[in-house]
């Protein structure tokens, strides 16, 4: 037997085992979901050939929204089933936490890039079919009179330009979803109560006094005072929306950074079955 004393922290912590687990488990899920998406997209190409409707083409894009949904599901699975499997062999929590995050980051970025590649393949197929079968396969771009080839090229270049930002968003949201997964694993009831309850409570606390105040004003005020109140409200909402829009990348980044240590602390003291 190999002497334990010679082992590095990485070997003792079984970090490569955690990554191997994600390569097998997450890698398979990513491949299957991408394959299903590809099959679904290719299936849509049949409809213009069996009906008179033109194919609605929107260009090349990396699908951030579907990646977000996928990240939410995978983070919850990794924080629950995956973590339990790895910890039950006697793997250290630091290693499982770090390995889960690295695995999820890699998996989600691969998935995002996969959606871009699928979109390019679909675009290629649309262009090919439109050129080969101009009578049966008609294409209508979703951006007015733009030509399909031009739309393909422009959207591809725009997607590549936006890709680093999309990757950053994916990583940030993965951190947040992983924290959610660890909280759900620890206590589902409390987590769901906080997630649903806190926003509702805040909304009620903010809205109820404001609505009452507005109702008082409406009952007692004249037209010009009501106009003024309306304008004030609009201004407040616009300022708030502008602030959120302007500061959103910073808010998101800070939230993601804070969620990293929180997810470790949460899983650290969660008893495993």
């Amino acid at each position: 037997m190999q002497q334990t004393l010679d082992r590095s922290w990485w070997q003792s912590a079984r970090f490569s085992g955690v990554l191997r687990y994600h390569w097998k488990a997450l890698g398979k899920t990513v491949s299957i979901v991408l394959l299903v998406l590809f099959a679904a997209q290719m299936a849509t190409l049949i409809f213009p050939m069996i009906s008179d409707n033109p194919y609605p083409y929107s260009g090349v894009y990396a699908d951030l929204s579907i990646t977000m949904i996928f990240a939410l599901v995978c983070s919850c699975i990794a924080a629950g089933k995956g973590t339990r499997f790895l910890l039950r062999f006697g793997t250290s929590r630091v290693s499982v936490w770090l390995g889960n995050l690295v695995g999820l980051f890699a998996g989600m970025v691969a998935f995002l890039l996969g959606t871009l590649v699928l979109s390019i393949l679909l675009g290629g197929a649309v262009l090919g079919l439109a050129n080969a079968l101009p009578d049966t396969f008609k294409v209508k771009t979703l951006f007015g009179d733009t030509q399909v080839t031009a739309l393909f090229k422009n959207s591809l270049s725009e997607s590549l330009h936006n890709l680093p930002a999309y990757i950053l968003y994916t990583l940030e949201w993965t951190c947040l979803f992983y924290l959610l997964g660890t909280c759900l694993r620890r206590n589902r009831a409390i987590t769901l109560t906080v997630i649903l309850g806190v926003p509702m409570l805040l909304m009620m606390l903010t809205l109820i006094p404001a609505v009452r105040q507005a109702a008082d004003v409406v009952q007692n005020a004249n037209n010009s005072q009501m106009m003024l109140l309306g304008v004030q409200w609009m201004k407040y909402l616009v300022d708030f929306a502008n602030f959120v829009e302007h500061e959103w990348p910073t808010i998101q980044l800070l939230a993601a950074l804070v969620s990293l240590p929180l997810s470790y602390l949460c899983m650290r003291d969660t008893a495993q079955p």
């Binding site: 037997m1 190999q2 334990t4 082992r7 922290w9 070997q11 003792s12 912590a13 079984r14 490569s16 085992g17 955690v18 990554l19 191997r20 687990y21 097998k24 488990a25 997450l26 398979k28 899920t29 699975i77 089933k81 995956g82 339990r84 499997f85 790895l86 910890l87 039950r88 062999f89 006697g90 793997t91 250290s92 929590r93 630091v94 290693s95 650290r268 003291d269 008893a271 495993q272 079955p273």
Partner: protein, 311 residues
């Protein structure tokens, strides 16, 4: 009898696992009550106890899955909970097979190659054929016995310094259980540095492979020692009923069985001289008390003491 309740160094050898004054509560239930014990290195150790004795709780603490309320568990002198170096020496096989999101045996072995630095792939594949497991079927479709067999194989092939099995024989048929015990003995002979800790309540079955036994009940240690150390002080005497009764008069009887005119009495000896006296009498046959009988006696004795204290 309290062979190694003194936790310094069991049987004079090196200690791999040390449990010091561990307490663990689950709300009102005290699962472990100031439990201290040492597990010697390079031995097959049985952690024996009734259902609910605290065996699984102790093993979950050893495996770093549960934090004790008080006390400390160390492997080779290093704290276990959340410490990679100590946990790196451990392979924990729980009582419920769990494969996470993996589907095939090949995937599980691929992960094990990364989890266990001493993983032996050739041996793992050999074990799969010994347990008659299909390589290409999904693990979730395996019967409970097949899943258990697979997890037992992972533990054996892991090459970990300390391999812990919680109820290893659950779901296995008699043939497979015997096969597993034989494999365990073979593996320990091949790698004398490896320690196996088996938690079970099937004491008679596992007794033949154990080098060292730890008996726990109601969350605390009853006794610990090698099987012969534990058996010392107890004797099974069989023969003509009147002769047996005469020879064992004045000794505490653990259990008495009479069959076809022969009486078998399992007794607790007061002194070494009792054993010499009984064994010298040619009218009776003597044998060591089996571990299960001993365990039942000690548990009942402990319960009686507890009730007396509570009363």
């Amino acid at each position: 009898m309290q062979a190694s309740v003194d936790t310094a160094s069991p049987s004079g050898g090196e200690t791999i696992l040390q449990v010091s004054s561990v307490n663990r509560r689950f709300r009102a239930t005290k699962a472990l009550n100031d439990l201290s014990l040492n597990i010697p290195k390079g031995q097959i150790v049985g952690l024996l106890g009734r259902n609910g004795a605290g065996k699984s709780t102790l093993l979950r603490i050893v495996g770093g899955m549960l934090k004790p309320n008080q006390g400390e568990v160390t492997i080779d002198g290093e704290k276990v909970y959340d410490h990679a170096r100590a946990l790196g020496k451990l392979c924990m096989i729980g009582d419920t097979p769990d494969f996470g999101s993996l589907s095939k045996i090949g995937d599980l072995f691929y992960v094990c190659r990364g989890l266990f630095p001493n993983w032996n792939e050739t041996y793992a594949r050999e074990l799969i054929s010994r347990f008659e497991l299909p390589l290409n079927k999904r693990m979730k479709t395996f019967s409970r016995g097949m899943q258990t067999g697979l997890m037992l194989s992972v533990g054996l092939a892991s090459g970990a310094e300390l391999t812990v099995y919680d109820e290893p024989s659950l779901g296995l048929d008699a043939v497979m259980r015997e096969r597993f015990y034989d494999l365990l003995v073979d593996e320990k002979q091949r790698y004398p540095g490896r320690t196996f800790l088996l938690s079970t309540h099937l004491i008679d079955e596992v007794a033949r492979v154990l080098d060292y036994s730890v008996l726990i009940d109601a969350g605390h240690l009853l006794c610990a020692g090698t099987v012969s150390e534990l058996q010392r002080g107890y004797l099974s005497v069989s023969g003509e009923p009147e002769v047996v009764r005469e020879l064992t008069a004045g000794l505490t009887t653990l259990k008495e069985e009479e069959l076809a005119g022969t009486l078998v009495r399992h007794v607790k000896l007061n002194a070494q001289a009792d054993q010499i006296r009984i064994e010298a009498d040619s009218r009776v046959r003597t044998a060591p008390v089996n571990l299960q009988r001993l365990f039942v006696f000690l548990t009942e004795e402990e319960e009686a003491e507890r009730h007396a204290t509570n009363a």
